[in-house]
Symmetry: C2
Subunit: 203 residues, 2 copies
């Protein structure tokens, strides 16, 4: 299998953690790529909306987005179960992941505002709008810690990668307001060594 | 159940079509809402990243995003199956849905550029970047029509709702370059009356 990705992508990190937890990392060749315009063409050949990560399976099929790739990898090996079967545990895990993905989407739009626009076109209200989504999600998890039994699932994994991305690109500004969630992330990192192993490179 | 949504939301349309296909529409009370700042607070109480749609289940749990809601509704009633079980059909359906969601995301960012920014802060390169994702996805499906047997699945449903949103907000500009896909959408609308029944209101 091949993973089209970039070292800094939080969505690719979700896939990397999943692959390690499922014992599949050794079967996946990483093909670095990123969402800059120069590289976009080769991504677009595998994903028409030109987003990473994309997994190319052994059969040559392209699979995305990160939610789909993680579920695909989870289905290849029976244990540990990262996507609970149908029932309340599944919807709870997937909804937590949706909030985590929402954090990442907002955090990426904040990065893109400054990466893709000249400074005279930055819009503070738009940035405030994205920051409010991040702050709301952090406050939600601080008040509703997503605890686990046994192996943390795909929901926990996504929340951890979202917080890791806030640390990486947004200076860990979320931490002072959320001490319980800081402790939660430390516990996650201890339970899932793959999380630390997939940390993005220092800038 | 309650669906927090707005009449114009393409993601909510995915849920509405799913609910009708599964015979569940009568059990879902629609609670109009939208992503304007005025309404954002009540959405944020149910989804911390303040995005619609959100489904409140009979147990009072909040479920999102649209992918998760559609899968939840699919699991409540056995037929027709919109999410194929594990195997190539599932990953194909979910990857088509990922491309459809990618069209919607880009199309919404184009709308938001003009809704949330004063005209002097519009950035043509950013808009071109989003348009290129839409154009790439339309060209992909024109060359790879997602055909179905029996009932169209969640992948087809998402692609149809994405094209419907391009018609609604972007003047059907996709149509001249994609005559086979235009025909495909007509066939989808004939196979799934719920698609026409959930068309967004005239502006």
């Amino acid at each position: 299998m091949q993973l089209l990705s970039s070292p800094a992508s939080p969505y690719a990190r979700k896939v990397r953690v999943t692959a390690r937890l499922k014992g599949l990392a050794g079967q996946i060749e990483e093909v670095p790529n990123d969402a800059t315009n120069a590289a976009a063409q080769s991504i677009a050949a595998k994903n028409p909306v030109a987003k990473i990560p994309v997994l190319i399976t052994g059969d040559g099929n392209a699979i995305h987005d990160s939610h789909v790739i993680c579920e695909y990898l989870d289905a290849q090996v029976s244990s540990p179960v990262l996507f609970p079967g149908e029932g309340p545990a599944r919807w709870d895990a997937l909804t937590n992941a949706s909030i985590g993905d929402g954090i990442i989407d907002a955090a990426i739009l904040l990065v893109y505002e400054k990466r893709f626009r000249p400074e005279n076109l930055w819009h503070q209200e738009w940035m405030d709008r994205q920051q409010a989504k991040i702050d709301g999600a952090v406050a939600h998890f601080e008040a509703n810690l997503p605890e686990w039994q046994g192996t943390p699932n795909y929901g926990h994994l996504t929340v951890a990668c979202a917080l890791g991305y806030l640390d990486f690109r947004h200076q860990g500004k979320w931490r002072p307001s959320a001490p319980k969630l800081v402790d939660w992330l430390e516990r996650y990192a201890k339970a899932v060594p793959a999380f630390g192993e997939t940390a993005p490179p220092a800038a």
